[in-house]
Amino acid sequence: QQQVKQSPQSLIVQKGGIPIINCAYENTAFDYFPWYQQFPGKGPALLIAIRPDVSEKKEGRFTISFNKSAKQFSLHIMDSQPGDSATYFCAASGKGFQKLVFGTGTRLLVSP
């Protein structure tokens, strides 16, 4: 119940495309859903996060869509750029949790 399932494992899009990464969870106690971005040789860094009281959150070219009834959330990257090539992790947590539960990661390559 503490798992967060992430797909796809890897993704290749052309510059300007809109990659979509999906995550699903089971534990209804989760109420915080962040996305982390990791570049090669660096530590993961928070990209954007959402709470279940809204269905969508945008920050620049990055959008999280959240479907509470389906227990799913996804990351969309608008007008993707080669500089967006990185590994993306979804995660979940909630009150009383002492940790983030991470998805398995998606390696995104944006070709020029």
Binding site: K42, F97, F102, G105
Partner: protein, 113 residues
């Protein structure tokens, strides 16, 4: 200005050796973590300390022993290193409360030969 720092950046050692990785955060956070990232990029939590007290130990072998001398530091000591310990180890910190941002260090790439 580095928020979470780790030393060393790279560590290459022989099987059976003992090694330590140090982590320091200057964010004033009271919770710190160690993660292991394997070659498939999967992030696996190992330990968490809150105010120097161990709160998470995710079935990590006894050869791994974290030590938190104060709230700003969480070191990881590994005894009798094995080939399977080769990975990138990340330290992270956050304020108390599960929904705050975790800040990760730059990682330590450990290679056991």
């Amino acid at each position: 200005d580095t928020a979470v720092s780790q030393t060393p950046k790279y560590l290459v050692t022989q099987m059976g050796n003992d090694k330590s990785i140090k982590c320091e955060q200057n964010l004033g956070h009271d919770t710190m973590y160690w993660y292991k990232q394997d070659s498939k990029k999967f992030l696996k939590i190992m330990f968490s300390y809150n105010n120097k007290e161990l709160i998470i130990n995710e079935t990590v072998p006894n050869r791994f022993s974290p030590k938190s001398p104060d709230k700003a530091h969480l070191n990881l000591h590994i005894n009798s290193l094995e080939l399977g310990d080769s990975a990138v180890y990340f330290c992270a910190s956050r304020r108390q409360g599960g929904t705050d941002t975790q800040y990760f260090g730059p990682g330590t790439r450990l290679t056991v030969l």
